[in-house]
Amino acid sequence: MKLHEYQSKQIFARYGIPIPKGRVAAAASEAKAIAEELGGRVVIKSQVLVGGRGKAGGVKLAKNPDEAEVLAAQILAMEIKGLPVRKVLVDEAAAIESEIYFSITNDRAARKPVMIASAAGGMEIEEVAAKTPEKIIKVHIDPLLGLRDYQARDIAASIDLPREYWKDFSKIATGLWQVYSQNDATLAEINPLVITKDKRLVALDGKMMIDDNAMFRHADLAEMRDVDEEAPAETEARKYGLSYIKLDGSIGCMVNGAGLAMTSMDIVKLFGGEPANFLDIGGGAGSDKVAAAMKIILSDLNVKAVLFNIFGGITRCDEVARGILVAMDEVKPKVPMVVRLVGTNAEEGRKLLADAKMITAETLADAARKSVAAAKGKK
């Protein structure tokens, strides 16, 4: 789960990381009021869960409250990469001396958290990594011990931070480690961390991602989920414990198991079709789950055919077949359905579906070929 900048910075502040004064606004008049409170120049920043807001014109500097109102109105009317801007963050503007990149994330290959810092702040870190990889400092942290003080000092020294800032930087590093470890973040990023002209370190921008598997111990963070920023079908799928990702093709896929679901998409493409989605119904899919999955797939109007690929192991094919029949009765789909049932009780499952006007297939390749043909309106 991604958090907005303003949410991330509020969390940073709780762990002693200095952030600019500011508040979030949903209306231009509110933005003006906040600007009046703050006095002086303010930055109006769109709050959407995509990168590249600045380049898209979603971050503007306002000299006074009136200008803040005008710019906030403009930004609130924008769409950035397809996402409408619903909120802006109004922050006091900082006089910047220099910018640093500072983050912590999971290093999957090393199986440890890694702190990443660079004196080239303000840019996308991927860009820095591509152009000047030597400017990126990486320090792995023992997940059983946590960040050591010397590691924070080492980072400060490695990015050539002047000594007068080391103490403050170490406090921020400790805070960032706590932000990461106590909130089950998969990413906690400050970009940029600035040195201001009046010699303070301030986290101007913040980004956090939280591990969905750890939500059970973070009720406070779960409330921060912004479902407005998700595709509605993905929100709906999560309710039923389904894993669904919408794609642009015309062949809907309903599969048990993540690896097999990806494989089904791939084989559709291999036989000249385009998959409309990834959907894993998981194990033990009863009729309610199958019906919910079918509705979600068919809510995509691009779908011209649906491929069911079920490998019965522990999940029994006759059970899934019954689920499909109940779902068909409820949803009454108008597009052709191709079904492949293999494994435990596949024969019984196929018999159940024989009268249901479904196209049956034996092999994966056969199923893919038939669904591609069905989507093109051929028999």
């Binding site: 999971n106 997940p143 990702i245 993540a258 690896g259 097999l260 791939d266 192991g313 994966l364």
Partner: protein, 286 residues
């Protein structure tokens, strides 16, 4: 011969009295696995199906039964503790079926067990199957026959698909190892490839990977430099969009890394035959 498990495996089931644990314990017993003990805190002294004693702790189960392998069917929030407990009780081989463990928990688990002589398989995996001898986990026993193909995979049902395709043409497996779909797990491709390389029964190896991470790329390096046995592979997720988690926590293309195309390229460069789809695998093994 086989790898990891065989008929001498003495299994303790952690979470034996839960729905999943009980169901799969019965399946494993029916397959012939030697399930010597169960463990559920607070249920010590009970019996499962009047044959399997239940203990309050793994330590007690090991002391009483000599269990040398553990399988974990415990909900995600408690499963890390179950792994620590099994490791501390001296179990050398732990298989964790549980899906959905928080990634920071798994980092702590992995860094802890790396300090001990413990092998963890999983989490988020279907477990192990040595056809005809023993099954530890949830792989349906009847989809595979004994044979000389070593199978290792990050996926569940996709693995079943492959075992089944092999069976249809009369090919059997020495051992099938599901290493799991999480970004941080206990056993990686290289670990299993090395075991298959040294297992006299295994003649060829099938490796089923997917998008996310770099384990397949590292496996390709290992295959090129160390392996003498032929390897056939399939990589799922050719059509997966970047930045999206495809069901498995570990199946995500991040920062341009971990795409199926890159993995296929690395494997082909290492001399691995890569199937375009799973049903092509048996013909590539011929």
């Amino acid at each position: 011969m086989s790898i990891l498990i065989n008929k001498n495996t003495r299994l303790v089931v952690q979470g034996i009295t839960g729905n999943e644990g009980l169901f799969h314990t019965r399946q494993m017993v029916a397959y012939g696995t030697n399930v010597v003990a169960g463990m559920t805190p607070g249920k010590g002294g009970e019996w499962v199906d009047e044959k399997i004693p239940v203990f309050d702790s793994v330590k007690l189960a090991v002391e009483a039964t000599g269990a040398n392998c553990s399988v974990i069917f415990v909900p995600a929030r408690f499963a890390p503790d179950s792994i620590f407990e099994a490791a501390d009780a001296g179990i050398p081989l732990i298989i964790c079926i549980t899906e959905g463990i928080a990634v920071q928990d798994m980092m702590r688990v992995r860094n802890y067990i790396d300090q001990k002589k413990v092998r963890l398989v999983g989490p988020n995996c279907p477990g192990l199957l040595t056809p005809g001898e023993s099954k530890v986990g949830i792989i349906p026993g009847d989809i595979a026959i004994p044979g000389n193909m070593g199978v290792v995979s990050r996926s569940g049902t996709l693995t079943y698909e492959v075992l089944y395709a092999l069976k249809l043409v009369g090919l059997g497996a020495s051992t099938c190892v599901g290493i799991g779909g999480d970004p941080i797990n206990g056993t990686n491709f290289i670990d299993v490839l090395e075991m298959f390389e040294h297992d006299p029964q295994t003649e060829k190896v099938v490796m089923i990977g997917e998008i996310g991470g770099t384990d397949e790329d590292k496996a390709a390096e290992y295959i090129a430099s160390k392996m003498t046995k032929p390897v056939v592979s399939f990589i799922a997720g050719q059509t997966a969009p970047p930045g999206k988690r495809m069901g498995h926590a570990g199946a995500i293309i991040e920062g341009g890394a971990g795409s199926a195309a890159d993995k296929v390229k690395a494997l082909e460069a290492a001399g691995v035959k890569v199937a375009k789809h799973p049903e092509e695998i048996p013909s590539l093994l011929k």
